[in-house]
């Protein structure tokens, strides 16, 4: 009765989605975090609030707007047409877009905190030692903010793995294409397939525990390194 082959596609899809989301978020979130940490613009807290919005917004609300945005009649649909598609809704790209937005605060906030924690001084020191701003960013700011990057990446990854509302709204439940683990659990429970639901749910408990534990251990090592 238990079909292991049926469990694999959602696991693979979820891991792919979470990995792609994390990479994208580090690329996009780092400059945003840097700007939020360094800028003196008055409206920067407004930007910070927009980035943090998914923390309080019901996922279904975000999913709803994303569906309109990415659908055939939204601007996302117009972009999709350039790629010969009718819509980004119910596609991996759509899922990725939604996940990036939804997990953004979990990545940006720890990195911003880390950038703010060491202040302006190390960057000034680097400048007096002839490092350009770009050079100082890579040789001083990034290494000093490493714990923030670690926390951000882990939280972003884990949060994407567990995302349900947004995924269901813009991804639907297409096996192999948009059916992630959390959607699969929901589906199995609905169809009373308890064994499969148990396996996935239990696996995710273990996964989450291992992730958080690894993060704590690594963070401790970083801080010990620094004294």
């Amino acid at each position: 009765m238990l079909d292991w082959g049926e469990l694999w596609p959602p696991i693979r899809l979820t891991l792919e989605l979470a990995a792609a989301t994390t990479v994208l978020l580090l690329l996009v979130g780092t400059p945003i975090a840097w700007w939020l940490a360094r800028s003196r613009a008055r409206w920067k807290e407004a930007v910070a609030a927009v980035v943090a919005l998914p923390l309080v917004l019901p996922p279904t609300v975000l999913g709803f707007y994303l569906l309109l945005f990415l659908g055939p009649r939204g601007p996302g649909g117009d972009v999709a047409e350039l790629f010969g598609l009718r819509t980004f809704a119910f596609t991996f790209t759509g899922l990725l877009f939604g996940s990036v937005l939804f997990s953004m605060p979990f990545v940006v906030q720890p990195i911003r905190n880390a950038f703010e924690a060491f202040g302006e001084r190390p960057l000034e020191v680097a400048a007096t030692l002839r490092a350009s701003r770009w050079d100082a960013f890579w040789s001083v700011a990034v290494p000093l903010a490493r714990p923030g990057f670690l926390t951000g990446a882990v939280l972003g990854f884990a949060h994407t793995v567990g995302e349900f509302g947004v995924v269901l709204m813009i991804g639907g439940n297409i096996p192999g294409r948009t059916r992630t683990l959390s959607v699969a659990i929901f589906d199995y429970v609905n169809t009373l397939r308890w064994t499969e639901a148990h396996i996935i749910a239990g696996g995710m408990v273990v996964f989450s525990f291992v992730v958080i534990l690894a993060m704590f251990v690594l963070e401790k090592r970083f801080s010990r390194l620094r004294g």
Partner: protein
């Protein structure tokens, strides 16, 4: 203000927040120039403007090179400076060795002539045992030594120091001071040194820029500024004159050393140093008294002929008197603090020839800068032998 290869010429005027700065001064491209003033006088802001870390409207030229004017603003990383902050601010993610090399590598990449080698710096500052260690495991004094080495190795043409001792405890201070003194003696590049501690300035500085509330109130050679009775520094209880002294013979019978200063000779207890070597001498105004005639019997062994240059009342009771040593009054300047009553009884007046009784003399460890050597020659010799002898 002209751009000379022998000076640092700075002019900054503007506001940073509620603080207003309006300064203009020149400092020689050699020796140590102290920016001295109380906290809030703007000395750190000036240093940050010279480093390019802060930006105020103005003009800055260093050794004939314009770093800032109406059109030009060189960014900090484009200025060949070394900057030592109050807290050592070592990079915590790098070992001592990599901290030292951080600026050195980048200076080499920028094509700077290497004038200071890593091994010389490590030996001079005594860092060889800590190269592999993490900054977090070092003491405060050790950290500041590494920070000084790191600044030097960026092949600086000017060394900027922002109260490098202020964050240290007394022991660490005593640990670092000899290094600063030796640095000052051996380094061919000029140093700008921010401090609010008069004793540090007396020990280290050749030139002083006196600051008050964002303005320069005096600038010049240390001995001239410190003996200027019109300045607040002469009104302090610890007001002193600084003299350059050459060590003479040691009198073994009484354990006294003869030292000569411009316009007179002094006897100092103990063996001071090699005959012929130079030392800096501090004479506190409160330790100098005046007599009209050379006294025949006194326990004070240092009685020097001098001429009164200037007098200025300090308060209702006391008067500050500026003296120049020697029969002809052409020697070093000395400061005396006498009561107004005595001044009237002796009818002291400028131009008058008197005798100065010097009760106590403190020898500062560092040898005074050799003023007789012209700057170019000094720089040339420093260059030819590297920065270490």
């Amino acid at each position: 203000m002209t751009d000379s290869p022998d000076t640092i010429a700075a002019r900054f005027a503007g506001s940073l927040g509620s603080f207003t700065l309006d300064v203009a001064f020149t400092a020689p491209m050699q020796g140590l120039t102290a920016l001295f003033g109380a906290s809030g006088s703007g000395k750190t802001t000036i240093l940050r403007c010279i480093a390019g870390l802060a930006r105020l409207p103005g003009r800055l030229s260093v050794g004939g090179e314009v770093w800032q004017d109406d059109r030009i603003f060189r960014f900090t990383h484009e200025r060949p400076i070394g900057y030592v902050f109050q807290e050592a601010s070592l990079f915590p993610h790098l070992s001592v060795r990599d901290n030292l090399r951080y600026g050195q590598r980048r200076a080499a990449r920028a094509g700077a002539q290497p004038t200071i080698s890593e091994s010389d710096t490590v030996a001079f500052l005594g860092l060889d045992r800590m190269l592999e260690r993490a900054p977090a495991t070092l003491s405060g004094g050790e950290r500041q030594r590494v920070a000084i080495g790191r600044a030097l190795l960026s092949q600086a043409r000017v060394l900027l120091m922002d109260e490098p001792l202020a964050a240290l405890d007394l022991n660490s201070k005593e640990e670092i001071l000899p290094y600063l003194e030796a640095l000052h003696e051996r380094l061919a590049i000029p140093m700008l040194y921010v401090s609010h501690d008069l004793s540090e300035v007396q020990r280290l500085a050749d030139t002083i820029v006196l600051l008050e509330k964002g303005r320069v109130i005096a600038t010049g050679p240390l001995s001239d500024v410190l003996t200027d009775v019109n300045l607040p520094s002469a009104r302090r209880p610890d007001a002193s004159a600084m003299l350059d002294a050459e060590v003479g013979e040691f009198d073994a019978r009484y354990a006294l050393t003869h030292v000569s200063v411009s316009g007179g000779n002094l006897l100092v207890p103990g063996r001071i140093g090699e005959p012929g070597s130079h030392r800096r001498v501090r004479v506190a105004a409160a330790d100098v008294s005046l007599v009209a005639e050379r006294p025949s019997a006194t326990t004070i062994s240092n009685v020097l002929p001098a001429r009164i240059v200037e007098m200025r009342p300090l308060d209702d009771a006391q008067v500050n008197v500026v003296l120049q040593l020697g029969q002809d009054g052409a020697g070093a300047r000395l400061l005396a603090r006498v009561t107004r009553r005595s001044a009237e009884m002796l009818s002291l007046a400028p131009g008058q020839q008197v005798f100065a009784q010097v009760k106590a003399v403190s020898m500062l460890r560092r040898r005074a800068a050799a003023k007789t050597t012209p700057p170019v020659a000094r720089r040339a010799t420093a260059k030819s032998r590297g920065w270490l002898p």
